[in-house]
Structure formats: structure tokens, C-alpha cells
């Protein structure tokens, strides 16, 4: 057998002890983790925990495993929202297929699972919008997915908004750029697959009544086209409008979740022509900033939220001491005195249902809500306590992320 891993491969050592020579289907139950929120799959896919880290293992033809491994590695390097690949195991005995190893995307759930939940109906619109953002982002990067479905899209919360991730790059083709035909075909495939999976949930009695599979599927191309248009269109405006029109466009793109790489302005007969080149990577300005100040790794909108709290905390420190406080000092003190205590207070049985940064975000929201009601600021500690008793228990227990379950032993 041979293992190919991408550095940093510090996780790899523990994985080597697994029974790779056996078919995944025959692995001992004690090695495996059950993930109720996973999607359906043609291949055998299993989840294992090694030293508190969780991995997804997929048994798949070697050629496809290599293909998927190479592409996922590329995508990650480019900052695209995908699962992170660790490596592959090939040359297994008895001509067995290869195994692709990806890092479990913590705090994620498949779209399939989301739609089948009681909240599926209410958020269908938002869910599809984020799925379309993912598809547009991939298309901008010249990626033809070929299998966009509810099971192949993972979902995470980002400060109350949704973020979609690609899992399953088996059918992906990478091109320098996509032709309109390729994009449309990919959207057609997505419609068909999303529609089919919703029908499937309906047949299984798992779909909320107010979701109509056909209607949802039919709506996808429209959503896609309008976002694609919004992101790629060239605009012409009068030269005197230039300043505010450019700013307006950039802000709109940011709101949609896209960063701008380059702006091209050309003066023409009709006026100024604006072309915007959108970055394919997820926006990351706030993320990097928060990391620099606190060492925390979170998602973009979460980072924005947390940074605001760091800034407020810094202002409070400065006001209290009557002198300037360097931002890095403020960052470290905020981490130790504000952020960490909230998370340390999460009751044991509720841990792992939401990502720590998301918990903090929700506590801030809750604080705002309580303060509004009380007519004064109730403070973070009190808000946290109320949140842990009244709100967090409402998050389904099945959502507990596997690494936390594994950690409990």
C-alpha cells in the first residue's frame, strides 16, 4: 500500500494505524463515527476520529481519487470554499479501490439534511442563494462542477448568514475559463439534482410541506443568472458619476460575498466603461485581521463581528485607563477576558453544536436583544448565561460536530 499526503501531514501519523487493507465497509464500528447530517453517496464513505480530529474516507477508483485529490488541493490553495484534502491511499491489497482522505469540515451539515429539518422550509431561499454564490464562484474560477447537488454541498453558519462549501470534486473539470454552454449545462445539472433530491426527501416524508421540489429546482437558473450578471456585467456611466458608481458597485459585490481583484475603467464615446474582475477566493480581509490580533481562525462575517467587539473593548480599556492601548494588547486581553470566558461557560452537554465563534456571535445577538428589552446594557456574562439556558439547547443535538463527540470518548 502507498499513502500520499500533503504537508503539513502531522495528522498523517495517527491515521497510518488504521486498517487500510480492509474494505471500508468492513471496518470495525468502534473506529467509526456516525454523522447523521451527511449526504447520500454512491461510494462507501466513512468517518473516523484520530486524536480528536475527524476525517472523511471515501473508497473510490484510483484515477478518480487522484483527480479529486489534486483538484481539492488546488482549490484550497486558491482559497475556494471546499473541504480540505489530506491525501490518498492507493495500491491496497486485492485490487481494492483507493481511499481519498479529507479533513472533516467541522460544524458543517449537508444541504440534504438541512432541507429535511423543520427549519428547511423557512430558509430555503437563503439556502439556495448561498448555493448559487458557490456555483458562481466556482464558475468564475473556470471550474465545471458536473455534480452540484444537495448532498455535495455542505453548509456552515457564518455569523448568522450561510456559507456553502463544495464536497465531492469527482466530476469536476478545470478549464482556463468556462464557455456559456458549460456554465448553463452545469446549472441544468444542478437543477436536476437538487430537484431529484428534494423529490426524494418528499417521498421519504422528510420535506417540510411548504417546499415544492419542482418550484425550487426551477428557481435555480434564475437565481444563478441574476447573480452571474451582477458579478460580471460591464457598466457604462457618465464620467461625472464615476466615483460614486464605482463605489456602489464594489460595495454591492462585497455584500454578495465577493472581493474585487481589479477594476478597469475605460473612457469611451458613451461614457466610462467599468469592468470589475472578481476574486474567486472568499473574502478574507477581516479574517486575516482577527487572526493577527487574536490568533483566532474564523469565517469572514464572524471575524467582522468579533473585530467590532475587539474594537469596542479597546475603546473601553482606553476610556478606563485614560491612555491609548495598542491594538495587539487589546486583542490579547479581549481574548482572555471576554471571548474565552464566554466559551468556557458553555455547558458540557451543549458543546460542539455550534462553532465557538458562532456561539459568541449569537451571544452578542442575544445581548443586544435582552438589552433592548431591558432598556439598558445587560452585559455579556448575563447574556451568555441566558443564552445557554434559553437558546442554545434549541439547536439539534445531532448537529454536535464529530470531533467534539470523539473528544468526549
Amino acid at each position: 500500500m502507498r499513502y500520499l499526503f500533503r504537508p503539513p501531514a502531522d495528522d498523517a501519523a495517527g491515521l497510518l494505524a488504521l486498517p487500510w487493507h480492509q474494505p471500508l465497509e468492513e471496518w470495525d464500528q468502534s473506529l467509526l463515527l456516525d454523522v447523521p447530517s451527511r449526504g447520500i453517496s454512491r461510494h462507501v464513505v466513512r468517518f473516523v476520529a484520530v486524536e480528536d480530529r475527524v476525517y472523511a474516507l471515501k473508497e473510490i477508483d484510483e484515477r478518480l481519487a487522484r483527480h479529486e485529490y489534486a483538484l481539492l488541493a488546488q482549490f484550497e490553495a486558491e482559497g475556494l470554499p471546499t473541504v480540505s484534502v489530506l491525501g490518498i491511499c492507493v495500491d491496497r491489497p486485492d485490487d481494492q479501490a483507493a481511499i481519498l482522505v479529507t479533513r472533516y469540515l467541522e460544524y458543517s451539515m449537508s444541504y440534504r439534511w438541512l432541507f429535511s429539518g423543520p427549519r428547511g422550509g423557512r430558509s430555503a431561499d437563503q439556502l439556495l442563494d448561498t448555493m448559487v454564490v458557490l456555483l458562481v464562484r466556482l464558475h468564475l474560477a473556470g471550474i465545471f462542477w458536473g455534480d452540484c447537488s444537495l448532498s455535495n454541498t455542505l453548509f456552515r453558519l457564518d455569523a448568522g448568514t450561510f456559507a456553502a462549501y463544495l464536497v465531492d470534486a469527482e466530476t469536476v473539470e478545470r478549464h482556463p475559463r468556462l464557455s456559456p454552454g458549460q456554465r448553463r449545462y452545469d446549472v441544468d445539472l444542478a437543477c436536476e439534482r437538487v430537484g431529484a433530491e428534494l423529490l426524494d426527501l418528499q417521498f421519504g416524508g422528510l420535506l417540510p410541506e411548504d417546499v415544492d421540489p419542482i418550484e425550487v429546482a426551477e428557481g435555480l437558473p434564475r437565481r444563478y443568472e441574476s447573480l452571474w450578471e451582477e458579478v460580471t456585467r460591464e457598466e457604462v456611466f457618465r464620467t461625472d458619476e464615476q466615483r460614486y458608481r464605482v463605489a456602489e458597485r464594489l460595495q454591492r459585490l462585497n455584500e454578495l460575498g465577493f472581493d474585487v481583484g481589479e477594476v478597469e475603467l475605460r473612457t469611451t464615446e458613451e461614457g466610462t466603461r467599468l469592468r470589475v474582475e472578481t476574486r474567486v477566493a472568499e473574502p478574507g480581509h477581516n479574517r486575516r485581521e482577527l487572526f493577527r490580533l487574536t490568533g483566532l481562525e474564523v469565517r469572514e462575517r464572524q471575524a467582522q463581528r468579533l473585530l467590532n467587539d475587539v474594537r469596542a473593548f479597546r475603546a473601553y480599556l482606553e476610556q478606563k485607563s485614560g491612555q491609548p492601548v495598542p491594538e495587539t494588547i487589546a486583542g490579547h486581553r479581549w481574548l482572555a477576558e471576554v471571548y474565552q470566558p464566554v466559551l468556557d461557560a458553555v455547558p458540557e452537554e451543549l458543546r460542539g453544536r455550534l462553532e465557538p465563534a458562532e456561539v459568541f456571535h449569537e451571544v452578542l445577538e442575544h445581548r443586544w436583544f435582552l438589552s433592548e428589552k431591558a432598556g439598558r446594557d445587560v452585559g455579556t456574562t448575563k447574556a451568555a448565561r441566558s443564552y445557554f439556558t434559553n437558546v442554545l439547547p434549541g439547536t439539534p443535538q445531532e448537529l454536535t460536530t464529530p470531533s467534539v463527540i470523539a473528544g468526549r470518548g
Binding site: P176, P180, Y185, A196, L199, D200, F203
Partner: protein, 429 residues
Amino acid sequence: MASIEMKNIVKQYGDGFPAVNDVSLDIADGEFMILVGPSGCGKSTLLRMIVGLEDITSGDMVIGGKRVNDLAPRDRNLSMVFQNYALYPHMTVFENIAFPLRLAKTPDDEVRRKVEEASDVLELKEHLERKPANLSGGQRQRVAMGRAIVRDAEAFLFDEPLSNLDAKLRGQMRTEISRLQRRLGITTVYVTHDQTEAMTLGDRVCVLRKGKIQQVASPRELYEQPVNLFVAGFIGSPPMNFLPATPEGNRLKTPFGDIELDEKRAAAVAGHDLLLVGIRPEYFEDATLVDEAKRPVGSTFRARVDVTEWLGDSQYAYIPYDAPDSIRAQLRDLSKELDSEELRTQAIVSIDATSRIREGREAEFWLDSRKVHVFDPETGDNLTRDAEAGAELTRLANEDRLEQMEDSHAGSRADEGQVRTGGATAVGS
């Protein structure tokens, strides 16, 4: 269903490289066309232009009499088979086949009729009410085909559909696809780089090289009357042997002795100095095992055998030969282009499984000189190709196809009223 006509199709990618270069090809309504060639020859690009996945740089793509160059994929109404073989666990096999129609809001009675027709052809009828979890690998693939069938597409398109399957399933599916295509009589374009698939599935095979069509013909014609060195070397496994040869009157002098040519072929090769003679492995035999009656149509020679390979029902002998440097270089280039690793200055010769020819010894061989072809090493042209005989082979294949389609239609009509009586319906099962 529809014919597909390509007129002077060119595809240039961004860097200006012509991946498909002036391809004109007519695929008849109901025909099974294979696109084949070594990696990078442009076969997938061509298929993608039919589907609408690549813009066409120039030329016309006409499907069912309509120019489709500017139509979106979905408006061309073609079906890429096996693109989606996901099975949905809560839906019955019936619904797993029906959902494309459901999504298109097709009325229930029409859905029922189409799914039943498709499941008939696919022999899935008894399974329609089952959940897919317990289907076999082959049955799963057939459900995927069912989805393609109920769409009533103009044509089926396959891009290396079997390459990810294990060998056993691949064999099964090959038969299945062929049977299905015959029964439905649906125009089919199938991309592969696999010899066996190319030679067993198609009515006609289009061989591509560097974006250009080399030859379009029935598998038999390609095999027996290749237009050039490239096609001759690409089709056939083990491949055709190419030996250096110099013409002398009615004879060709080769490392395996003199080969006599009939007058027509002798005239065709006259005036050349150095030639390549192409001999398929099965045109050879252990001389001691050849019928006296057959001997005179060929020639015999003695050679030392390097290796023999006994496969139970057949046997191969490997015979090294000398060739001038120019020919060696030429053969090396050819095998590189054909993605085959061997440098062919060693002939592969098929001998009867009972032959007692031994490795390392000299033995006497016979070769059937009626079927050899002679190529111009510079242009690669087959100088001895008999175009008429070739066309006749393809005409016969076409007749077979039309007849089989008749039969299968008659068969399915008969099915409606009475018990199946075999015939086309039993093919491959």
C-alpha cells in the same frame, strides 16, 4: 431521433491551438458512431461541441436538420448518458427513472407510459416498485439509462462511460449499451480510447488524429482496408506488424523473406525505394500446421523466435527483425503517437495454440500474402488499399444494422401482444 451533421467544424482554444481541425462527419439517424483516437486527438472536444459545452470556432453543427451552433445545451435535447447515476434512496426504481419527467411537469399518464416502456427495454419491469438500495451494479446502471431514455432525446452521447467501472461490469455494460441502442434505434455518439469498445460497439468508427479525421468506416473496413499507417497501427490488438520492404518487380524483399504481390498491388508500389509492409499477427502461422491447399497463397520463411506466449486458446511468438535507422525512427514516432510503449522492430505473430515452436529456436513460418498492405513510409499512405472492397464492407455493415433495427422493432411490436420469442430481444442477455 435525428441525424447529426458536422460541416467543416473547427475548434481553436484560447491559445490558438486547433483541437479539432476541419472535421466533416455525417451520422445517420439511428446510427452508432464511435469517436476514437489517442489521447489529445480531439474526440472529447468534438463531442462537447455536439452537446453545446464548447463554442464552435467555425463550421456548422446540424442536428435533425437544424443548425444548433448557437443553441444552449438543454435546447439541443441530447442526452449525456451516465452523467448522473445517483440513486435516490426513498424513491422507488420507478420514480428514480421518472424524476426528469416529474421535474418537467409531465402529466402522470405520460410518465407512466414512458417509464414502463423504458423499463421494458431495460428489463427492469419486475423491479419498478422496489427501492434502489438492493439493486446490483448492472441494474443501477440500467436505471441511469432509463433516465436517459424517458427524456426522448434526439441522440445519446457517451464520453468514456465505462472507464471507471471494474472489468466485469464494464463487459456487462458494453453488451447492455449495444443491445439498448439496437432496440431503441437511437442515434448514438460514443467517445472512447478503448480498442475493444470501438471495434465491438459501433456501426462506424471515426478515427481522429491531431484534430483531423483519418478514416470513417465500419470496424471491418478499418481493420482490413485502413487508409494509412496511423489507422493501421491504431486499430487491432496486438497491433499490425510493420516491416521494412523494398519492391523488386512483383516481389517485396523483407526481413521475413520475399512476399509476392498480385499485379494490381505490385503496380501500386512500383517506383518506391523503401516501403513498409503491414502484416497483422493472425496472417502468420506455424508453417508445419498450414493446409497444403493454403500454402501457395502465402510464403514461408525461417526465423529465430525470441519469446512465445501461450494463452490457452491462442499463442503468440515474438520475432525480432532488423530495420534501417530511418524506419526505426519512424516506427518509434508512430508508437509514441499511438500511446503504445513497444518499439516495434519485433514482430508479433499469432500461431496455433497447439504449435510446438519453442523460444530461442529457429522455426519455419508461413504468411498469408493476400492480406498484407504496403505503406509509403514518408506520407504514411496505404498504397495497396482497395477502396471498393472497403466500401463494400461498410455497406454490408450498414445493411446489417438496418436489418437488426427492423427485427428489433418487429420484436418489440410483437412483445405487446404475446410472449417474447427471442430474436433481437435476447441479444446480450
